[in-house]
Amino acid sequence: MGKDKYSVLLPTYNERENLPIITWLLCKYFDESGHDYEIIVIDDGSPDGTLEVAKKLQEIYGDDKIVLRPRAKKLGLGTAYIHGIKHATGNFVIIMDADLSHHPKFIPQFIKKQKEGNYDLVSGTRYIGDGGVYGWDLKRKIISRGANYVTQVLLRPGASDLTGSFRLYRKEVLQKLVESCVSKGYVFQMEMIIRARQYGYSIGEVPISFVDRVYGESKLGGSEIIGFAKGLLYLFATT
C-alpha cells in the first residue's frame, strides 16, 4: 500500500442524522480496503448539534480517525476546504458531500484509478459508464444533461462531470486549485476542474451513482440557473 494516506474532508451543516451513517460507511470501506485514512469534519456551527454527534463518533472511532475542525459559522465551501487541508495529514484528499448522495464504496475505486494513471485528481462522474442518478425526474435530468452539454461544448474540459463534488485530489493540487478558484456553489466545482485542466493536471474518472434522497424543486430554481450561466461565461472568457 505504501505510505499513502487519505484525508476525507466532510464539510457539514445540519447533518446530525447523516454524519453517523457516512462515518460508519467510510470506516467500513476504508477498513476493508486497508488504506490509511482520516475523516476531517468541518462543521460550520450547525444549530442541530452535528458537532455533538461528531464528538461521540470520535469517541467510538478514535481521534486519529475522526478529526474535528469546526468553525463558528457558515463560511462557504472553498474556505472549508482550505481550513480542512491545513489540518489534513494525508497526501491525498477526498472531498464529498456528507448527505449520503456520495457513497464511500467508490473511494477504493478512486484510489485504484489514481494509482493506475498516477493522476493528479480523480473525479466521480454521473455521466459515463455505470454512473447515474437516483431520485431525479425528467426535468431535472434534461437540465443537468443540457447544462453539461453546453459546458462541454464551450469549455472542452476533458472531464465528463463538472459540477460533481465527489473527488480525490493530491493534497498540493487541491490546495493550489482552491486558492485560485473564486466561484461559489455549483460553479465552484466546475471552476476547480477547469483550472485543473488549465494548469495541466491529469484527470481520471470513476463512474458513480448519485443518490438524491432529499431532492426538492427548490434546489434548482431560476437563480441557480442564472448563477450557473454567469459562471460558465466567466470561465469561457478567462480560461
Partner: protein
C-alpha cells in the same frame, strides 16, 4: 519543432515531449506536441471568436461581392445561408445528443436500495457501539 515533426525523428519527439512536460510543470499552458500552442494560450472565448472570424470573414467578402467569381455566382444563395444552416445543424445535433443522453441517464435504483439497507445496518451497529440515534 516543425522539422522534428516532419521527419518524425524519434529522439527529437522524445525531446519535445520532455520540453512539453517541463512547461506543464511550470504551470505554462503548453501541453501538446502538435503546433497548436497558439490556441492553448487563448481563452475559449478567443478561440470561438477566431473560428467565427475565419468563417465569417470570407463569407462577408463573398456576400458583399468583394470576392466574385464563377463559383460564388453559381452558389451565391447557398453561401448566403451557409452560416444559418451551420447553426441550425449544430442546434439539431445538439438536441439529438442531449435527448439521447437524457434517455440513457442511468437510474440507480439498486444503489438507493443498497444505501437504505446500509443505513439500517449502520444505525443498528452504531447503537450497539453506544451512539444514541433518533
Amino acid at each position: 519543432m516543425v522539422v522534428a515533426l516532419i521527419f518524425s525523428e524519434p529522439l527529437a519527439i522524445e525531446h519535445l515531449w520532455e520540453c512539453g512536460r517541463r512547461l506543464v510543470c511550470k504551470g505554462d499552458l503548453v501541453y501538446s506536441l502538435f503546433p497548436i500552442h497558439l490556441t492553448d494560450k487563448m481563452t475559449k472565448l478567443m478561440e470561438w471568436l477566431t473560428g467565427a472570424f475565419l468563417i465569417l470573414g470570407p463569407w462577408t467578402a463573398v456576400v458583399s461581392k468583394t470576392i466574385q467569381n464563377e463559383f460564388t455566382d453559381k452558389y451565391y444563395i447557398a453561401i448566403l445561408i451557409f452560416p444559418v444552416i451551420l447553426v441550425a445543424i449544430f442546434g439539431l445535433v445538439s438536441v439529438a445528443i442531449i435527448a439521447y443522453r437524457v434517455y440513457n441517464f442511468n437510474d440507480c435504483n439498486e444503489a438507493a436500495e443498497e444505501l437504505k439497507t446500509q443505513i439500517k445496518e449502520a444505525k443498528e451497529d452504531l447503537t450497539k457501539k453506544g451512539l444514541k440515534l433518533d
